[in-house]
Symmetry: C2
């Protein structure tokens, strides 16, 4: 926990410089546009502790696996997003002294992330050891309007001296991933050149031949006047720079504009990259910083127009939710179906920038509600494109006949993870990937997706479940042995209720989809069946499993059991834990965690969250009470599900408490690990807590359902959702609810169990509201 940032509804503000906060701020003030991103490193040299990070989505490296003890089935490598060319750098020297905030005396430092307009600015006065005082003003952004463009404006002003100034903007491709398994550098230079004010670097990865070309176009002004100072051209291996020499008088202000273009072989032929990149950076320079920034501001304006959540009466909460929405939009824009959402986005290296089930479990609803339908669809297509790899993955583990097991962690569809209890056993991810198809279709009504893509994935996953169960002669039931649920604090368990339930749900849903297609898209169904060599007896087997699946339950407590024999554990409550032993994962040995009844996140509740409409409120309430008391929420994904379910059972205090646990997770460094990067996928959970929890948003039978309550501490809040072509603004305040249809399309809506027709541009006001 660290609270050093100022509260502000639209800005993240760091007042004053403390090198202790630098790693943290580098994560929090990160910039990105879905295509590329970077940690908030300083432009000028910084000799203090820093984690340099510049990333391009989808440009990764298969880093040879590190493992203590090999198990058959482990992947040979872990695919990780690469730290690539640092295009940020601008070295400053004044009379031979280097500007370095770790060495200068720093005054009036302020760093601001302007979330409304999407830029990062920084100003400070640095005093050198000789007493020279330099005022610096820097501003930069990565363009949302032009994905391959970024721009920096960097001004220095001599406050009390005259002297020689050197400004050295550079591109540096000689970077390393901090998480490289064997300390290897992943990039080789292909080409690089530097001319007056312009230069480029073309690099390629040592494996897989990803090429990235980065170009810079620099302009200098002195006191507002364009200038062409003397310069040196520096060209080293994987490094190019211009070094400008200027004489400055007191009060002179020198401004460098650095326009960056960065392209990759993911979108262009390798032979085109130098030309394409150079043209783009020139174009950016021609447009100029102010015009580009105006575009940026407009682009973010559009995003906020669709996705803003407003909270009145609580600036910290307002800042928190906007920060989350901001970062989610910076991470993924949904234009490229080959991309996905890494748990740290572009804000750090941890987890390798790869895809986890977080996307389907937590992020999908955010993009469904706040972005164009195509964005969520692309998240689904990502898995559709990986189907063959998922089938190969299952085959490697001994499954056959087109069964698919999607990887736990992946970049390109291949498994990257290597911990047997997770890689091989967290098979529930397959269920979440199937559920995402349901979720998308249920939300959008885009049934054609099932006919075009969905069923093929569903059949492959259903086939996996049908082989992964085995029939227990003892129980006369199907069982699923040797799994790890989302709760990774139990490994290799039998009959994890959630896994069994989501397996059966997948079979049920697949059959339902097949019935639907038989009616509505018979040709598609026939095509799929032929493609996957579907056999009628498969349906019988699925029905048999559905009918005879074993679920661990406890009649006495009236609950579904986390897994077989869960109640053999010593039944303690989180409230009985010694505070200083929390979080358990930093204090208890692993076996103690495994043996204890404490849950990282509650699997049964995850199941009840997904399948809420299949269970009555009492069942949900009993399970919630039981598991909530045993859940330590040491997964940042956990509290959101609890918030939604707490709201569902009317426990608004608990819902709000759960919301608080993640809303400012990174801004307040709640888990003391934001230095590594922000918890991007958990941010979607915070959004869920407000929209599905406080707002009670559901889509059932093609109807938009709302059951909002107003948290006690807030005077109002509002959120917008994109629902089937309509933009709906839901405002919840002390005067009641206002639901504004900001589109031309009519929608059907149900609020507090009452149905309404909301016409295009129409408004619905309901005096009544709940408070919690």
């Amino acid at each position: 926990m660290k609270q050093y940032l100022e509260h502000h509804p639209w800005k993240i503000i760091e007042p004053g410089f403390d090198s202790e906060n630098q790693l943290l701020s580098e994560s929090i003030f990160s910039l990105g546009n879905g295509y590329m991103g970077q940690r908030a490193n300083f432009e000028e040299e910084y000799s203090g502790e820093t984690l340099q990070g510049n990333y391009m989505a989808g440009v990764y490296y298969p880093d040879k696996t590190v493992v203590g003890w090999w198990k058959i089935g482990y992947p040979e490598y872990f695919a990780k997003v690469l730290n690539s060319t640092n295009w940020l750098g601008i070295d400053i020297k004044v009379d031979g002294q280097v500007l370095d905030l770790a060495k200068c005396r720093v005054e009036k430092f302020q760093r601001i992330l302007n979330m409304k307009e999407g830029y990062l600015s920084r100003e400070f006065i640095a005093e050198f050891s000789n007493g020279n005082r330099l005022k610096v003003n820097a501003c930069r952004f990565i363009s949302m309007a032009r994905p391959e463009i970024a721009a920096i404006r960097y001004s220095v002003k001599a406050l009390n001296f005259e002297g020689k100034l050197e400004i050295t903007p550079y591109l540096d491709g000689d970077v390393i991933n901090q998480d490289a398994n064997y300390g290897e550098k992943f990039w080789d230079q292909v080409a690089g050149d530097i001319n007056d004010g312009r230069g480029y670097l073309l690099l390629k990865t040592k494996k897989l031949d990803f090429h990235i070309c980065t170009a810079m176009d620099c302009q200098i002004r002195k006191n507002g006047q364009e200038l062409r100072p003397d310069l040196d051209k520096i060209k080293n291996e994987k490094y190019i720079a211009n070094k400008y020499f200027l004489d400055i008088q007191q009060n002179d202000e020198v401004t460098l504009f650095k326009y960056i273009a960065s392209t990759s072989s993911r979108y262009y032929q390798v032979g085109e990259l130098i030309a394409e990149t150079s043209c783009q950076s020139r174009k950016a320079a021609e447009l100029g910083f102010d015009n580009l920034l105006a575009e940026q501001s407009a682009a973010w304006g559009e995003i906020w127009q669709k996705s803003d959540i407003k909270i009145e009466g609580d600036t910290a909460a307002q800042q928190g939710i906007r920060f989350n929405i901001f970062q989610l939009n910076q991470t993924y824009t949904g234009e490229d179906e080959r991309l996905n959402i890494g748990p740290k986005g572009f804000t750090g290296e941890k987890y390798g920038g790869s895809t986890y089930w977080d996307t389907e479990g937590f992020c999908l609803p955010f993009y469904l509600s706040t972005a164009d339908q195509s964005v969520a669809k692309n998240l689904l297509l990502y898995r559709y494109r990986h189907l063959e790899k998922a089938q190969e993955n299952a085959a490697r583990l001994g499954f056959s006949g087109g069964a698919a097991l999607y990887p736990m962690v992946t970049m390109n569809g291949e498994e990257s993870h290597n911990e047997w209890e997770i890689t091989f056993e967290e098979i529930h991810r397959n269920g979440a990937i199937a559920y995402a198809i349901y979720n998308y279709v249920n939300y959008t009504g885009d049934y054609s997706y099932l006919a075009d893509y969905g069923l093929e994935v569903l059949i492959a996953i259903a086939r996996f479940w049908a082989q992964r169960v085995n029939y227990s002669e003892k129980k006369n039931k199907y069982v699923i042995l040797g799994v790890t649920g989302p709760n990774e604090y139990e490994n290799n368990v039998n009959n994890n209720w959630y896994t069994n339930r989501i397996a059966v749900w997948t079979l049920e849903y697949t059959l339902e989809v097949m019935d639907y297609l038989k009616q509505e898209y018979p040709e598609s169904l026939a095509k799929f069946k032929e493609k996957v060599s579907f056999k009628p007896e498969e349906i019988n087997k699925w029905h048999d499993i559905i009918n005879k699946m074993y679920y661990p339950i406890d009649e006495e407590e009236g609950i579904f059991l986390q897994q077989d024999n869960y109640l053999d554990k010593e039944q303690l409550l989180v409230s009985e834990l010694v505070k200083k032993e929390l979080p358990l994962n930093q204090h208890w040995s692993w076996d103690r965690i495994l043996r204890s009844c404490f849950l990282k996140q509650a699997d049964v509740l995850q199941g009840l969250y997904f399948l809420e409409d299949k269970y009555d409120l009492e069942t949900i309430r009993r399970n919630f009470r039981f598991y909530e008391a045993r859940t330590v929420h040491e997964s940042s994904l956990s509290p959101s599900v609890h918030a939604v379910l707490a709201a569902r059972i009317g426990d608004y205090q608990k819902a709000y408490e759960m919301y608080l646990r993640t809303s400012r997770l990174d801004l307040d460094n709640y888990n003391n690990d934001t230095e590594d990067g922000c918890h991007i996928t958990s941010m979607a959970g915070t959004w869920l807590a407000i929209v599905q929890g406080f707002g009670g948003l559901r889509i059932r039978d093609n109807t938009l359902i709302l059951n909002p309550f107003l948290p006690e501490k807030w005077s109002s809040y509002s959120f917008k959702i994109n629902y089937r072509g309509a933009l709906v603004n839901i405002m919840v305040g002390l005067e009641g609810l206002t639901i504004q249809n900001e589109s031309k399309n009519d929608i059907e809506i149900k609020v507090y169990d009452k149905e309404y027709h909301l016409a295009g541009d129409g408004q619905l006001k309901i005096k009544d509201y709940k408070q919690g």
Copy 2:
């Protein structure tokens, strides 16, 4: 499986040279004397595939742990026995051409391990590319009589040429462990010098400051006459050598004698090492090769006198069992209580040369029966000395109050292993360590051990079990959750029958020992109680656990269950497995192995083996039949337990079949992994199969019990055991049994349930015998 060695009762013979077999032969022909050992590398240069290995017992390095994903509780390092100074090397050059069996044409190659006398010899003719033919005759041994001494005799004879010969005996400390986690070299040079024919190297390890000094003393003879040829003295970092220059005529034979002494800071002050080592190597040189070899032959004669097993009618079996006895004696002599038995001994690096529960589970009975009582006692004292470390280990995992968890793998008492499901969960090892105390006392009658040391260890282990159980309110029983049994093909299971049973047995035995000491050694008991702050309520708790322990059983099958819900697995039999999928651990993914019912070794049978006298024959038979059919024996330790139990239930065919699986495991490279080193600890299992299985040896109530049968394919076999000061030779043949007391001490003996008194030097002949 590879059968290229000739069968011979006393020798291992490799006829002809095939570089494909070199790694394998390097393991099989290894030499050792408990103090040091080496793989059977060639003296002369060899550019083919080889694993160089020279080891000194107890000289290890804490190599930084490699792990994919860290868990709290993992040790920081893995202690591994070090590859240390190569003292073997003798480079040979003839007219500028290097003798290298990978490059010369090789004829009449023969390598022989003479197990009776304890030396390794090799002869061959090498033809160089210029047609020169050189006959080589090499012989070496590591002295059993003088632990720090080794000697090499290396002769070369010019068969068809005259020319210049260079002989370069050297010491090379610039070695690396093949299994070094980070490719690091572990040794630094402290001192080294070379003079005419003599030199030494003093090295120290980069961590822990182990010092090893190795000295060589060389003599040259030409056609039997001592010679002092011209020589160069070479002294590089961690390397010293003499290079001798000789002119040889056709039929000249030049012989180099290389006398080695190797001492370490484990036994001397660092400052003494150079002098001590130099004096020892001179002394050896003075004694000369033939005298040293005569000593060696006599020392091995004594060993065989006490431990030989003779088999008639099956040379392969005879060779197999002698090889096992030979290797066990080479690995551990029991003189130093700080040493133990690594699974590969001195024959390879795998498993780091550390101590596993193999020692207590399998090796102890071998040393009890074939060596002085002090040897087995030292194995117990090894653990006694590590008690404090075992308590620290338990404390790190959250246990308190003096509870001890002995490490899974250790060199110095600290845990070296880092796989959570083994390191933290294979707690059954604690049971085996307690059982070893019982085993020792039961065999030797040395009850004073309990009073001097044993009880302290037992109490600490009992305290561990008392904390490791938890009370299940659901079952109204104590349960043990989250363990891995000896069968490592199931991880993190609940209520592994064997673990629960051995836990309760430990409590029972500890209470029994306390009762005994109360009667016989009341002062010892009082002293222990005070030392460990024993509380009377601990006894109550232990009784409660003994009375209320939960054991998984299946009434229908009438068996003890491997673990909770074992019968939920698909119940297949090994006979139904596809042959080409065996061994499973080379063909199935890890999760598939975990889910299957197949056992690497059968835990229930391990328990019935240890606690055989507590179960009736029908119970043993039912469990044996059930688990034998599901056991794939992919632990080389597994078949021995099956052999003993099969014999117990009268299934002699099965007992013999199980014996065959390990008797020539390394000689025939049965598991295709002997290149890494021999399976030293499994060799004790083969001995158990014959002595406890075929011979039916037990000690109960201070009586020696025998129930021998004669395998169908053998005409006779005999084994000797050291029992309470008596050396007893048990001969089983077609004419019946002959039991010869080769000592002066009378013993009580029970054969086929009939009691006999066997006087000193007496003989018992029994016409009756069983055949199987």
